[in-house]
Amino acid sequence: MTKLAMMTATELAPLIQSKQLSPVELTEHILQRIEKMDPLLKTYITPTPENALQQAQQIEKEIMKGDYKGPLHGIPIGIKDNYNTKNVRTTVGSKLFRDFIPKENATTVDKLLDAGTIVLGKQNMHEFAAGSTGTNPFYGTTRKPWNIHYMPGGSSGGGTAALAAGLSTLATGTDTFGSIRQPAAICGVYGLKPTYGLVSTHGIFPTAWSLDTAGPMARSVSDLAIMLDYMAGYDSRDPASLKITPPKYSTNLDREMKNLKIGIPTYYLEGLEADVEKIFFLALRTLQQLGAEIYEINIPELEMSTYSAYSIVTSEASTVHYDWLQQYPEDYSQDIRTFFLSGTLLPPSYYIEAQQARRVMVNALKPIFNQVDVLLAPTIPYTTPAFQEQWVTQNLNVVKHSMPFTSPINLTGVPSLATPMGRDQNGLPVGMQWIGSHLSEKLLLQIGKAWEDTIPLHNTLEGT
């Protein structure tokens, strides 16, 4: 039965459509696993088993009547706890929002419900989506299913850990400076940070408005594509929403690596841990064997990423939280409080300069995609750390080490697909990110699917 919990939506959908698999049976199975495993893994803050079963029963009736909506109909999903869910508590991973019950859904939640997904509950996250270890002193710390002594990453670590443990089939994430891609890399699953403005962020609690994106997380690339089919699109309630008609992402996903021009920014080759470097070069060798052409690319402007990202995230986040920091400072955990307070001490010129640097970085990146089809880089430069007792220090250090690798994507607004690339000496997943030009999600998903077919989690360091 574990097999059922680990199947992808792409595999489950035809079984549900042909009535060989009952959505109620599937939902009950995953809910039983949540009940059994989640007291240890803490991937959910608020599971909603009763709602999920009611929804599954309703959906089963619809399907039995022949009213099949499409590939997400009857598929269980977890929703990150910073997406508003009508009548269901939405804590944003914080003590401050422990009793907040939204009156309406985030746009994306409505879209996924309209598609027929079954919501299993609200998934755990690093407080206010502003940390990267998955440590949560208020609702319990999420643990990495591969080894519970190691961190799952964050801030969408509840979702990626649930995917890795078979506690949800799909999950939603948000990514302001890596919160989809870093935990996807650590948990060995797939995550897409879309082009800024492609997926509505209306009804999602802001971390830093000018960088926030929402996106899908799953156990396969084709599942990400199906989710994006439903999540993408213009929303007049989101000021940053792009007025475009997105393509159908889930069709024609097959393509070969042959003749694909892949750029490796030299910026991303600095400061890699030995295991990450070895696995990355093994991956490049595999890609060359498949016919891809690899080019080293120099983009020195990316060196401004750390400065820009820190200045923007802390400034914008401290603006969101200013009044609450004055009134309820004890309701913040220390890592997040100090991160936000730092933003109140920066001169305004830092913020403006950071936004000027962004323009320089965007202008530097755009012409690169005339030379190569995609860029490729390790998602993060380190292998998964074990939990440390000094969790405040650990989170701030993990953020510091992740930021140079994850934030260039948010700062330039381009899409990035996080895929596994292999396993380190401890047998734990290591990931890489495919970076494309603005609105190149379809290409990234096609390439990601070809890479997934190589079964990257089988890449180990044995024999190297």
Partner: protein, 62 residues
């Protein structure tokens, strides 16, 4: 390194919390930003470039 006094006074003057055990963490974050700001030295004319800001053209229409 940003001084403890600067941090404590800066927070106090804004009515923000001044926990003494927060100070080393804030110092570390501000030091990271200060160190990273050196990357801008390569681009001396950056202050003449318009910043990226969210300006909604729709909102500004009559």
């Amino acid at each position: 390194m940003v001084s403890e006094n600067f941090i404590q006074n800066g927070l106090f003057s804004q009515g923000l919390p001044t926990y003494s055990n927060d100070t080393p963490y804030i110092q570390d974050i501000l030091a990271t930003i200060c160190m990273a700001s050196k990357s801008l030295d390569t681009y001396p004319h950056i202050n003449q470039i318009p910043p990226i800001t969210i300006v909604e053209k729709e909102l500004l229409r009559p």
